[in-house]
Symmetry: C2
Subunit: 648 residues, 2 copies
Amino acid sequence: MEISSLKALAASVRSLSMDAVQAANSGHPGLPLGCADLGALLYGEVLKHDPSQPQWIDRDRFILSAGHGSMWLYSLLHLTGYGLPLDELKKFRQLGSKTPGHPEYGWTVGVETTTGPLGAGFSNAVGFAIAETKLAAEFNTSEHTVIDHYTYALAGDGCLMEGVSAEAASLAGHLELGKLIVFYDSNGITIEGHTDIAFTEDVAGRFEAYGWQVLKGSAHDIPQMMSLITEAKAEKKRPSLLILTSTIGFGSPHKAGTHDVHGTPLGAEEIKATKKNLGLPEDEQFYIVPEALRYTAQKAVPWKAARETWEKTFANWAKANPELKAKWDNFFTDPTTLVENAEEPSFAVGESIATRVAGGKSLNAFAKVMPGLTGGSADLAPSNNTALPFGEYSAQNRLGRTFHFGVREHGMGGIVNGLNLHGGLRAFGATFLVFADYMRPPLRLSALMSLSSIFVFTHDSIFVGEDGPTHQPIEQAEALRAIPRLLVLRPGDAQETFQAWKLALKQSHRPCSLLLTRQNLKVYEKPANWKEDFEKGGYVVKDTEKPETVILATGSEVNLALEAVKLTNRRVRVVSVSSRELLQDNPNHLAKLVPQGAKVVAAEAGITTGWKGLADNVLGLDRFGESGPGAAVAAHLGLTAENLAKLC
Amino acid sequence: MEISSLKALAASVRSLSMDAVQAANSGHPGLPLGCADLGALLYGEVLKHDPSQPQWIDRDRFILSAGHGSMWLYSLLHLTGYGLPLDELKKFRQLGSKTPGHPEYGWTVGVETTTGPLGAGFSNAVGFAIAETKLAAEFNTSEHTVIDHYTYALAGDGCLMEGVSAEAASLAGHLELGKLIVFYDSNGITIEGHTDIAFTEDVAGRFEAYGWQVLKGSAHDIPQMMSLITEAKAEKKRPSLLILTSTIGFGSPHKAGTHDVHGTPLGAEEIKATKKNLGLPEDEQFYIVPEALRYTAQKAVPWKAARETWEKTFANWAKANPELKAKWDNFFTDPTTLVENAEEPSFAVGESIATRVAGGKSLNAFAKVMPGLTGGSADLAPSNNTALPFGEYSAQNRLGRTFHFGVREHGMGGIVNGLNLHGGLRAFGATFLVFADYMRPPLRLSALMSLSSIFVFTHDSIFVGEDGPTHQPIEQAEALRAIPRLLVLRPGDAQETFQAWKLALKQSHRPCSLLLTRQNLKVYEKPANWKEDFEKGGYVVKDTEKPETVILATGSEVNLALEAVKLTNRRVRVVSVSSRELLQDNPNHLAKLVPQGAKVVAAEAGITTGWKGLADNVLGLDRFGESGPGAAVAAHLGLTAENLAKLC
């Protein structure tokens, strides 16, 4: 380890970061200045990575949970050869640049996940670490190791105050994720002032209670940090939290250690003073210490060599283990073809079955042909019907495919995203629809990142019944549709549920929510070729000549619509809307389903807002539910076939 | 303490609970059977309460955070004289009964808050405990104590796994809420099985790290629990967690200690066996041990006497301290008249000022005339502009009115609700609009409970700019409107902001979200009497003769609309929509604003879904934002006056 080279690298991170924030007149200089030494150490000496091949599956993962410190990451990516040009750093926070305000996955090479909403990266990191243990267990042999890497994350005070990191940390300790190493940038500063105005807990004690190893040091002492990291890596069972005391805005003579430096440019004068203080040329902009580039250029050789050695190992492993290699290919294959191999469970017309039950059967059918499909519930598996028959994932059984996330919906969402970000696995999470509210941030992030995370939300309406309004979703389906790119699927019966799961699994760049019922629903007859239209957003379940009215119904309300048709003299066509978003994105298909001039009536056991733009009348629920047997609640609230018929 | 009487009370709780769950064929017998002894002790001996006056302001508060155990609470309320008839217990979980599936505030007397969504009650309890410290500091004198009560809560494994309780617990420890006492029903069981499948952390160690006193005992040992409670009450500084090991479904010979008993009726046969086991008559339904009623009838005398003594103290205090009594009346007065006393800050037409800044000034103006108005931000006060000049609330200064919630949005929401539930205070919380996602559950609960919580959400659109899509709300305004009863106000300039705050403060039975801008907005001219229409949902900012087009704009888009008018030859009326919900609830007013036949164009920097039912064209954003200066992002995404003009 060449300390002077790392110091040069760190100085360059500081130089680039403060200049970029100043040029943008916007951003966060505090973390980059405070954590530059750690960054130099990580990207220079610690990480197993090859910047020339940033997609290398066995690379160590690094996650900047404190995403506001984005310039720290961009500086390091530039300096270590990830192909992020200096010009892009100069365009920090400008429209279209590769250096947006917070790190964006899929946009800037080397960014493992989108962060900024605090605690999110921490929970993703737990998902990454789980993925590593699973893939290692699946593929490593006594002779060859193809998966063996660490997951590192850098978290700030804010990340550790958020409940989501508490949930994820508790689970990480339980699951004995020994290869997860989190750095806590303990700088004692938050936006409102010193952390001690709101955050005086004993963080070390808390993490020890979670089953973590906790180590302490200084973020400005490179040899000490190196030895702590070595200690962390040596611990095989417990995840490690390295509490690093740092000075926020390190080097700034007047602002270091204050909350002024957290999220505000230093100002031209203070930058000069800081540069002088740090031994950098005062008047040079975006200055890079030559030794930093010499050092990273030199490191590129062993980085590449290590990756090439892995490639050879992988080739040898593949040759020696053709069956494992075939499985590997399955794990890493676009599932579009795989899902066609699944055997559809038999759901007979006339049969009465809850779509959550059909969902469970469908999931299991797909899981058989997709060995990388894995997931679980936030302690509601028996209700969500999401258990898989391939063992339960635990510290003792990394091969298990069913997760017990505990009553931790928010953490589950972040972990599912992490599992999907890692590569190789297709992960889902499940809870009651009403508790989607607990996990809005990871739902949004999955959509923002174009991940293919799947979320199973059962008990999708007031038909939950007796549990009452706290457990009866009203606004949740619409609130999910509000998230751009998130696909919301609400199948109307068991057959449609299988099709919905298939559609969800085929998505490679958009997350899906599957909304399933608690109550039984009758399987209805369908026209030939319904599946094709189902995948476009909806199909005609029951037609009539020259329809005067078209009912657009989702989920359980399709059966309601079929009942309503019998109660009216009007000529009514019933359309099962699998996904309103798909329908609205495809006006031609919508026009095919809804003939010009026909009256349109929408039916969904939830708020009516989103249907008003599409329908003349809406049968829905714009108020909270009530406790009582489902059918009684529905009747009380007017969600009946009679009322639907009247609206036709 | 009469142990045999408490045992009779406990046996009656078990009897009523298992029969009610069985009669409903739905519900959770596990907790009521497991925690019956604790319930008897609490409601019989521990709580300072007078069931004949359940609104007594100085009563101890009890919160059933594990809300699924509702029959436990209903049994106790019935047995101790809260006026909940036995007939209502027999109608457990039936439509319209006073015994819904989960306890509902405002519906069943004696229920302090609506619970069911796990962890929510825990966070409310922290709010209750804070309220007590504040009111005690405000009103007690060296001679008279008018506020002096404890806050108790019962939480299960699920509550403690949720991140929201972690956030609230950390803050409770920091704030030294010594009069907060939480019972942890540690029964080792969750829905998916034993808690050790997902929850093996050292809960005691974690809470000690938060600064709590942790005590341990058995939920089936009444004298031991009594002595632990005494110990908890003696600790003045640290909140206390009493970890009580319990057998879920205690008494059931075949199901006790299993997850089968958590949320499923025992079944007729097992109920018989359980009754036999507990010494209850096997064939009697809803049996109450006579001693239980004798005991509670006898306790009613001292309960009432204690409350009457307090009334006398209060009267003496009021007489001796007329100024304090006037202040008390102010705290406990409907603010509708108070807010009229506030001096409106001067916001001149033409002035350019962000509505978050105007919001801060307005808040301060109202805070001056409403001494009970209190709140804070989740570590964003300098950005949210929500600091008050009346000191910061802390363990050292209970009189302070500005809270530092830390980076804990979800916990903040629950605490704000608890503060408002307690009585005497009017509380608000603040964060960025995009982070409303972190606190959906308490937002929903505030609406479900018809609380008057206020939530300030600044940085309300892509005009946030450089922070990029993780920080730019797109779907949040619409997702808030999706919550029934929650009022969403998005004022268009500084003057409207003052009016919006006033409108929010006048709500006594509905929560409000105030959506405010980061960026400056020009204060525009307004017609006379605009305020009256503003309170109805919207008013005409700029009119024209025989309007061909009406623009419905909110927030920053009102200025955009005023620009657009200049760019079109059409006769355009501009309406500032303060709240779309109010407008939609008032069709007459809407008809006044939008003349028949006029083309309607909506403008809001967010998703268009909710406007489509109201407008012919919508200028909005149905995609995530981008990082860049706000104006550049808006131009890039087409949110311009030119485009709005084209839509007219």
